[in-house]
């Protein structure tokens, strides 16, 4: 048999594979989780091992407000996801902006905390083991928040100029997934640094 005949694809045959953007983001999340895990393990291993310098009990205040802001931003972004699914672009934009605002508050709060630690308590990354592990872990997380906020802001700008439409909702959800991840990491970091480590 030489020629391969054509067969029309039957309409009942379903062939749905997951959206590749979402899978890609899961892949990124897996990779990032591994990085964070290593920093968390280092943090936990080095608890109490500083030979000198300020200890967590002495200088750390639990950042309740920051945490509430960041975790609520997960709720706001979830609400915006639902909005764009229903084609409520205005609602979407509002909740999206709220997310950015809450994230920004978190960052500012972190900055204030660090300012106090550095200038008031004399704790820098090179002071002692606690300083090294603290700034590395929290800083790594903060970098991810920064990157996330930049991406969210770009989307906000596109929304304001009217370029974001209902058909982009899957892409938006992928970005929101990243933001949820950043929040989930904060839960772990918060527990390890401010609860377990103190």
């Amino acid at each position: 048999m030489n020629a391969i005949p054509l067969v029309a694809t039957s309409p009942e045959q379903e062939w749905h594979l997951p959206y590749k953007g979402r899978i890609g983001m899961y892949g990124l999340i897996i990779a990032e989780s591994a990085i964070f895990t290593i920093f968390v393990i280092a943090y936990i291993y080095y608890i109490g091992k500083s030979l000198y310098g300020p200890t967590p009990q002495q200088v750390l205040d639990v950042p309740i407000v920051n945490t509430i802001c960041l975790l609520s931003s997960s709720i706001t972004i979830f609400l915006s996801e639902r909005a764009i699914e229903r084609n409520n672009l205005k609602t979407f934009g509002l909740w999206w902006a709220a997310t950015i605002a809450l994230g920004a508050i978190f960052l500012i709060g972190t900055g204030i905390e660090w300012h106090k630690l550095i200038y008031h308590d004399g704790l820098t990354i090179s002071t002692n083991l606690f300083g090294t592990t603290f700034y590395s872990l929290v800083g790594l997380h903060a970098t991810h928040v920064v990157v996330g906020l930049i991406m969210l802001t770009i989307v906000l700008l596109f929304t304001l100029t009217g370029h974001v439409k209902h058909e982009h909702s899957e892409r938006v959800q992928v970005l929101a997934l990243y933001w949820h991840f950043v929040d989930a990491v904060w839960v772990v970091v918060f527990t390890v640094v401010y609860i377990v480590g103190r």
Partner: protein, 282 residues
Amino acid sequence: MNEQQKPGSHTETIHLPAPTAWPIVLAFGSTLLFAGLVTSPWISVLGGILMVCGAVGWFRLVLPHEVHEDIPVVVEHIPIETTRREVERIVIPEGDRAHLPVETYPIISGIKGGLAGGVAMIPPALLYGLIAQHSIWYPVNLLGGAGVANWRNPTTADIAAFHWQGLLVANVIHWTACVLVGLLYGAMLPMLPRRPILLGGVIAPVLWTGMLHSVMGVVNPVLDEHIAWGWFLISQVCFGVVAGVVVARQERIRTTQSLPFLMRMGIETPGLVQEHKEDDRK
């Protein structure tokens, strides 16, 4: 993203992502960003600038929709054929095909056989302990002794006393080994030509007892010094017979003994397995 083939037509266009230089720009910028740390900070600055350019350029390629290039295509039939047209088949005598399908459950029957054998071999072992040292813990500790902390040059009295770590380790070793060997019985007993109980239940334990005897000096010298190989052999044969019988019953081995070896081996090949009809496979 490509158009559906319309029957009979011979040209179409396919959309593929367009080639672009932004990825290499972004990559180069990223590298320079890091390279500045070991050369000059200005390299990092240059890297940063290139990164921003690359990122912006790339974004504009994918937002709001991907930029494509169109490639026209001519559809041509490609023959898929081979010179080796025939496919041989493993030949099975006609009469035996009537036995199909032979479904065995080597895993379940193996586990059951192993556990049953494991239970069966405990009484002789404990009996030996009672007779030789008046203690059922004696054989337990011989097996599990390595688990007892600071177990160095133990006296016979030590070995005859109760140690919970020894009991724990002995149980772990015992049940692991029993299940594993049971599984092996489940897999291989059907393959044996005749008298599976004799081969599997008696000859095999003799063989593995011999092997263990030859290496026990290295594996566990304490056990090697104190073990009574006769009693050991008896308990192994108990295991073998009971496990063999349980497995043979479960897999209806006696009736399968008349089948050719390939069938007893569970080989999946055309002629020996159920054929799927065409509509099953979508």
